[in-house]
Symmetry: C2
């Protein structure tokens, strides 16, 4: 049995505050014990001081030591046992099976980053050979590696209490990069956060790392997050949440005396293009797949398919009819928080009130804070003239946009804001239309799918869970997959440093065995380095 | 003979404006012909429209085609002949030999990026194999590559009229990344800019590329630069210049409805630590090397050594005495513009007026707009309590900070702002002190040198010309060397796309012959891709 005490975890210390808050079971509205510390600027300063002290020590450990630390976090999370998923279910209303899967995703993610660090994915060293005889000027001995950017603030997301929270993707990639992490736990699941936080803290201690490598602050105030992003010792921010929240953090970060990068994943409606051949071949099957993706997890995924785009015609009519049937019989599902359920209801109501948008189906009513799936249809001309129809309604609501022709479909694609994903359902006869859409979609989305559904984000090397604004605040990276490590790294070059002072990653003989570029080419055993 | 017409180069068209301006020869104050168009928001909109149109077409050409285009630009710049360096010398006051070297650096840089693009440095493809049998869920076929982020605005720098200007590092890396470029030429060298701009335009036309791949806007107003950064079609910005200028662009970029990255290289005083062993062994030789680096090019380098840090003692006294002698006999040199010369004189006067800073030497007086080298000394306690002593004085002025002991030296290191470079002069007996300084300097600088001088930035794979704020606005990258290409790229993932629709970089059989990661490991010929 692991204790949930309600304390903040600031380095190795448990810290209480006078102000406290409690979590709520969204399925029943019941208030959950215990009370949790509600951190503020004072606690931010304590955690940031420890993180700054830890940063140069932590980034100096070997890749193997860092990887073993990530592996230990994964093992410690598993060792919590069923208490973790049980508490997470209470705090989020998510079903146990989903949370068991999410735990596996979380530990798998930590282990993937461990392997990537071992493989040299953090350091990416490059060496350029000295050319002492070069005229008119010799070339120095230049060696570059990447180091952690410094302490990183990670904001836990509401919708993935494990995989995008305390030990989620941002924490895993920042720790893998060699950066201390201060997590601002999401106030909707503080008990889950504390359990995972203690698992990380134990790994810090067992590895003999400086305590400031990890702190967990829970709290309910915007002031807490603002103080964290404003603290001069914080060097980068990872955030998953609302557009308003992400933009607020971006403004704070940009307004600092020293601006810092914010990786905010914010808002995406994940357009799905149903091309004519696919609709003709399998409108009903598409409707089944679509409603499954739409209603999974009460639609509370960043990659939820909130927009369907298709050409008017019999195929689309069949799709809408079948989708309406499925939506009508969809069970209500508890949403993560009363706030999210309220925002969903308001978003749906806004569309229901419009004369130019037709509500073709809605799902069953449910208990408190539940999500009733809803399907709308609008003409492309309406969609193109009403920007509000592009706004995300977080939950199981989707809008079908009916296009008169391929030109209008391309116009809809061009009018889209930045997205995490864009999907094409197509048959070979649709390739010409798809080829015309692809360059537009590459400008709009981080991931382009064919004949699938955007929910389900594989944690791997080739994944991009990112995209142009407002899907994220920075389209140059991803929040899922090993490429995410680059978010929290910066390159440092060493010119003519004596061997005795060089970091191991760029020393002669490659003592860490990392893949390195020498004069722009992969290093081979035959490369003689002085 | 190449014509300098004074026109803006907007795609393939020469555009004149009613408002015009002329360049000035800083050595004589003479106004130079012809008059140049002074672009404003209207011209920005024209260039941006063409760039946005060109972007998807340009990024779709093969790496080989993009590399050949970069090579052609280099050849066209060489073909301009001596007219280019002669005009640049007139407009900047820089000596012909320096400009000849800078031209070679510029063309070498374009060719290095061409080679890097051929080697796959832009695409960095990654493929993860599908796992159709995996339980509980199969893994899709995931393939990722990098594409150009979109049209890039490049601000030419005053101090490198070729290598950091119209066809400079930012332009080369952005074009290499597959991004159209709009250059805002520096108004101090508009004739040089036009000559180089026409060389790029000819390469665009000869390669059959869309005209919007390149435009050159010259002008004198802040409004021009502001309109360029604010234009919604611009997706990233490269800038080299003053801290005030860079921060102004960052604010505009952060305040856009869609914020974009700004890579601004702004301000660095490039601290040089003279450790005791080195001072004892070779104080006079260090002084010679220092003053050579300080006065080169009238000190108008981002990497100019503006700060010397050493322990008090006989070695430092010898260094100061020898450096004072060299500075006293240093010839005056014409600065780039009357504005820069005026700012230098004011910066020096501010230090001269202080009772707590000693002026130990100054160089000879010169003609109009010339720089008189100046050397100051202050105690570390003064430096630590007076932030103004850390401000860059752009030109051949440097401050020696005398430390009482190694602890004070580390305190000075910790008090530094972010820097492009930090330098250690050391002997083996200094290694312990150097090892204690290194983790501090890694936090402060992009490049750490031993026993050299920071001026002279090699264009290669391992170079980092960047660093923490305020050296740059983004410490995650470099403005010199092949790593710079990552500034202008974003990853896109393709999930289960039919082979016929996949970009060549991620197709089966690797038709472009790029280095690729397959399941996290370098692809080998034996990797069978379906």
């Amino acid at each position: 049995m692991n204790d949930i005490t309600g304390a903040l975890l600031i380095g190795s210390r448990d810290i209480a505050t006078e102000r406290r808050f409690r979590a709520v079971d969204p399925a029943s509205g019941a208030v959950l014990e215990p009370a949790f510390a509600d951190a503020g600027p004072g606690e931010v300063a304590q955690a940031a001081a420890l993180a700054a002290e830890a940063a140069p020590l932590y980034r100096a450990i070997t890749p193997e030591a860092r990887a073993a630390f990530l592996d230990a976090i994964a093992a410690n999370i598993e060792a919590i046992g069923d208490e973790l998923t049980a508490r997470a279910a209470q705090e989020t209303g998510l079903p146990a099976a989903r949370l068991t899967g999410e735990r596996a995703r979380t530990t798998g993610q930590l282990r993937l980053f461990a392997g990537w660090v071992r493989a040299g994915g953090a350091d990416e060293p490059r060496l350029d050979s000295p050319l002492p005889e070069r005229a008119p000027l010799p070339r120095a001995d230049l060696r570059m590696r990447h180091i952690g950017i410094g302490p990183v603030a990670v904001f836990g997301a509401s919708n993935f209490p494990l995989a995008f929270s305390v030990a989620g993707g941002d924490t895993a990639s920042a720790l893998a990069a060699g950066c201390p992490v201060i997590v601002k736990g999401h106030p909707a699941h503080p008990g889950t956060s504390e359990l995972v936080g203690r698992a990380i803290r134990a790994a810090v201690s067992d590895a003999g790392l400086p305590e400031g490598v990890f702190s967990l602050l829970t709290g309910t105030s915007n002031e807490l997050g603002g103080a964290l992003v404003a603290d001069p010792r914080i060097k980068a921010v990872g955030f998953t949440g609302s557009r308003a929240g992400g933009l607020a953090l971006c403004r704070i970060a940009a307004g600092r005396p020293e601006p810092i990068p914010v990786y905010a994943e914010m808002s995406s409606i994940n357009p799905v293009f149903l091309l004519p051949g696919a609709l003709n071949a399998r409108a009903e099957a598409l409707a089944t797949g679509f409603v499954g993706s739409l209603t999974m997890g009460a639609g509370q995924f960043c990659t939820n398919p909130g927009l369907i785009i298709a050409l008017a015609g019999g195929g689309l009519d069949r799709f809408i009819a079948a989708a309406a049937t499925h939506v009508s019989s969809a069970a209500a599902a508890t949403m993560l928080t009363p706030g999210i359920a309220g925002a969903y209801a308001r978003g749906v109501a806004t569309l229901e009130e419009r004369a130019d948008v037709a509500e073709v189906a809605h799902g069953n009513e449910g208990g408190p804070n539940s999500c009733r799936a809803t399907l709308f249809v609008a003409e492309a001309a309406v969609f193109l003239s009403e920007p509000v129809l592009s706004h995300e309604v977080f939950g199981a609501s989707s809008l079908v946009v009916r296009c008169a022709d391929a030109g209008e479909m391309r116009a809809v694609a061009r009018a889209l804001e930045g997205q995490l994903t864009a999907t094409l359902h197509l048959e070979p006869e649709d390739h010409a239309l798809a080829a015309a859409l692809l360059p537009i979609l590459e400008d709009k989305a981080g991931r382009i799918l064919a004949n699938g559904w955007p929910t389900g984000v594989e944690v791997c090397h080739a994944m991009v869970h990112g995209g142009p604004f407002p899907a994220t605040s920075d389209p140059r990276s991803t929040s899922v997959g090993t490429l995410a490590i680059r978010r929290f790294l910066r390159p440092v070059c060493y010119q003519d440093l004596p061997e005795a002072l060089l970091p191991a990653a760029v020393q002669a003989g490659n003592p860490l065995g990392l893949p390195r570029l020498v004069d722009g080419k992969p290093e081979t055993d035959g490369d003689a380095r002085p």
